[in-house]
Symmetry: C2
Subunit: 468 residues, 2 copies
């Protein structure tokens, strides 16, 4: 006998939680599709040479390699003679960006650009086992990829998608924080920090503001490692604390930056365009703000960058991040493919929401009705009732073996099934059924032929109330 165990670092859900998780996945997908993004799925593994084009990063040290039994046997046989050269042929994807780059480069001539794609799949990282860190987790990504160029307008559209997704998920108020890498770069250059590595180091110090305080950061930046003049340091500290409140204030904050230098001016112009279109897209101004401290991956993003925070749970960190990049697939093609995209790490988000008590796991089941069974003689009748409910689009379970009615109600209640349908002898004689609505704690009798439509009305109402 082997002890049944899930591998460490995995979030495996019970059915009730899986239903809640699936609803979130469906909501994200629905909103991605709403904005015209097309589905793509790539294999769980890529050729190692494809996946590991960049060398040395943190991510690469966490890669899972894959070997078929045959390859393994060969490797073992070869072991006695000489250590096997090179890496295994296959590796599990650690994000959806590298597979997207490979996909777009491979199918370049079969795709239409700008190419809007969404991809919702699991990715794999050999993280150190730790609470809330997962080795397998869902990423829900969208990207728009242009050929040679891509209008900044898409940066605004992406923001509107983030807004639509999180409004629809209904997990509380949130704010999409915006910045622009050109604006940052231009600003730092104006302060005499022109080297991008040096900028990254300054930003790392600035990140310590919350923990170590302004004095500590000021001293470091003025100290021997950086040697920045006091007034430049003050301007940097003021800059990274900029947060806008409302649309007009965001525009005003941009105006005060002036035209400094061409890079700064370009960044300001891009952000201004994004803000303007975001308004046209109907995103309420309470949902976004400027935050000049947001940098994201410095070596990757080149324009707009996004982070998203739950207003009531800032400690959760960014729940949806991304930005604009200059060239998606330089490792695989000579074509220049600029893009803009975001990613939602749903596994971690779900875990955090559950930890915060925001996912009850006591929602309604995906099963909407249970047809109770009074006795063996009425089974055929129960099956017929279920058939009609299903034909009307109602997810229905049948009690297949007789059991005390109280137990059947208890089961439905625990499982989160809203309706229990009963057809006793009396009701059958009247051509009727009794419905117990467990969510409203009501009971009513309805004609058989009207059962499905009356439950549908109730379910539609509930759906409308829940905003689904």
């Amino acid at each position: 006998m082997i002890k049944p165990r899930t591998p460490p670092g995995i979030m495996e859900l019970l059915p009730r939680e899986q239903i809640a998780f699936q609803r979130m996945l469906d909501t994200i997908r629905r909103n991605y599709e709403r904005f015209g993004f097309l589905p793509v799925e790539t294999p769980v593994f890529e050729l190692s040479e494809t996946l590991l084009t960049k060398s040395g990063g943190e991510t690469e040290r966490q890669v899972y390699f894959v070997q078929s039994t045959g390859a393994l046997a060969n490797a073992k046989a070869a072991e006695a003679e000489a250590p096997a050269e090179g890496l295994p042929e296959l590796a599990l994807r650690f994000d959806l960006t590298v597979p997207l780059a490979r996909y777009v480069a491979e199918h370049e001539h079969e795709l239409t650009f700008p190419f809007r794609r969404y991809q919702i799949q699991r990715v794999y990282r050999g993280e150190r086992a730790q609470r809330g860190r997962f080795r397998e987790f869902y990423q829900c990504d969208i990207d728009v990829i242009g050929k040679d160029g891509l209008s900044t307008r898409f940066d605004a559209e992406i923001l509107a998608v983030i807004h639509a997704v999180f409004s629809d998920l209904g997990i509380g108020e949130f704010t999409i924080q915006l910045n622009n890498r050109k604006l940052m770069r231009g600003f730092f250059e104006a302060q005499g920090v022109s080297d991008s590595e040096q900028q990254a180091l300054v930003l790392r110090e600035v990140d310590k503001l919350d923990k170590r305080g302004a004095d500590y950061v000021r001293e470091t930046l003025q100290g021997p490692d950086f040697g920045l003049p006091a007034d430049a340091v003050q301007r940097i500290l003021d800059f990274v604390e900029v947060r806008s409140t409302g649309h007009a204030d965001a525009i005003a904050k941009l105006d005060t930056l002036g035209q400094g230098n061409p890079t700064l001016a370009e960044g300001v112009a891009e952000l201004r365009e994004v803000l303007q279109l975001v308004q046209a897209l109907g995103v309420p101004e309470s949902a976004y703000c400027l935050n000049f401290s947001i940098a994201r991956g410095l070596d990757y993003y080149t324009g707009t960058v996004y982070e998203t925070q739950l207003d009531a749970y800032p400690q959760i960190g960014s729940i949806c991040s991304g930005g604009r990049y200059d060239n998606l697939a330089s490792h695989y093609t000579k074509s220049k493919l600029p893009g803009v995209g975001i990613s939602i790490g749903l596994t971690r988000l779900f875990w955090q929401l559950r930890e915060a008590g925001l996912i009850a796991g006591s929602d309604e089941s995906s099963v909407q009705a249970l047809v109770a069974l009074m006795d063996d003689a009425s089974l055929a009748d129960s099956l017929d009732i279920a058939r009609r409910l299903r034909a009307a689009g109602i997810n229905t379970e049948v009690q297949m073996e007789p059991r005390k009615l109280a137990k059947q109600f208890q089961y439905a209640s625990r499982a989160g099934i809203r309706f229990v349908v009963l057809a006793g002898e009396d009701e059958r004689a009247r051509g009727a059924v009794t419905v117990k609505d467990l969510s409203r704690e009501q009971q009513f009798e309805v004609k058989r032929e009207e059962l499905a439509s009356s439950l549908k009305v109730e379910l539609e109402q509930a759906r409308a109330l829940a905003g689904r």
Copy 2:
């Protein structure tokens, strides 16, 4: 520069095909949920000791092992001294049955039995690379798991699910072929073939009927290897050719078998019950038949077995198979967990349907409307129109940069987008928009505030026509 390549043995789809594939997945899931099955997802890898409980099978030789970068480095370091002992810690799942067994055993006390679960995930097999054989493919499974016992009634429900799924998929007429392992076993025992291994060997010979003809099979079974009497062989050949046509004929075919021995009688009784309930579940009699040649995995299934054939494409083989088993998780728990289930291998089915020209890949896109862009000045207006359409649940793309109108129509047409919405200056002045319906080749003008509802009506009609 690295050549972008998909690993061999993978079916990767372009967006249009992915939309068609996703529709099939959604249809399967919708029907599984309709019958009250609950979602389960398990990790892509399991602990090797969990996955490889049975030793030596074909499947095990095809297992993919997974190693993190750290483990690989350790293994290489250790190589010089001594060959690594044992297997890598993790392996990719090769089906959804072993993960289900582990899941049910691990969460036994948190689940309610009978436990109805569906699981739609990819599985991995190191198949020899070959046309139409895939190393990564979707399985879409349902199972009902009982504790200690499970009524035969569920066997009928599973058949009704198969019927619902393939009716809804709309890929042509199909027949669900039914048999029962007890009936088979009882019958073979009555012919003097009581050893189950021997039964398997006889069935393997019988499988050659199509290719080698009855005389060849007859000679083999009467020959030295089997030594069966001529009349027993004749009864076997007659038996495996039994196919029923219609419900009454199926019952009659069962009646003629008589009560032979207790095992046969039990199988007959089970099949009879299944047939009777299938009728109550509203499955038309044209959709199922008895086929006494169907055996499936002899060491696994113990009662009802199913195969499903497309009537017009029998050469595709079974597109949905499964059956009843006595004990799901004997490797992981002492609890007795009988079950019944089926699996649809959607990747292979999709590939076969495409090969047969049954999937055009020219279906409608998931994008339903394109808001055309006349000039830069009207962008904000386009975005506003799109916002209203999306709010009404219509998947909408906006042309973000001006382009010749003819190109915009061409794009929509090629992409399978049904509606193109235009708002020129004239229309704007009238508070109206023009809609081109590419599928009907019609054009109409509609008031702005009525646009969303009028497109919704059109889309609902199309959906109703398509039976979705």
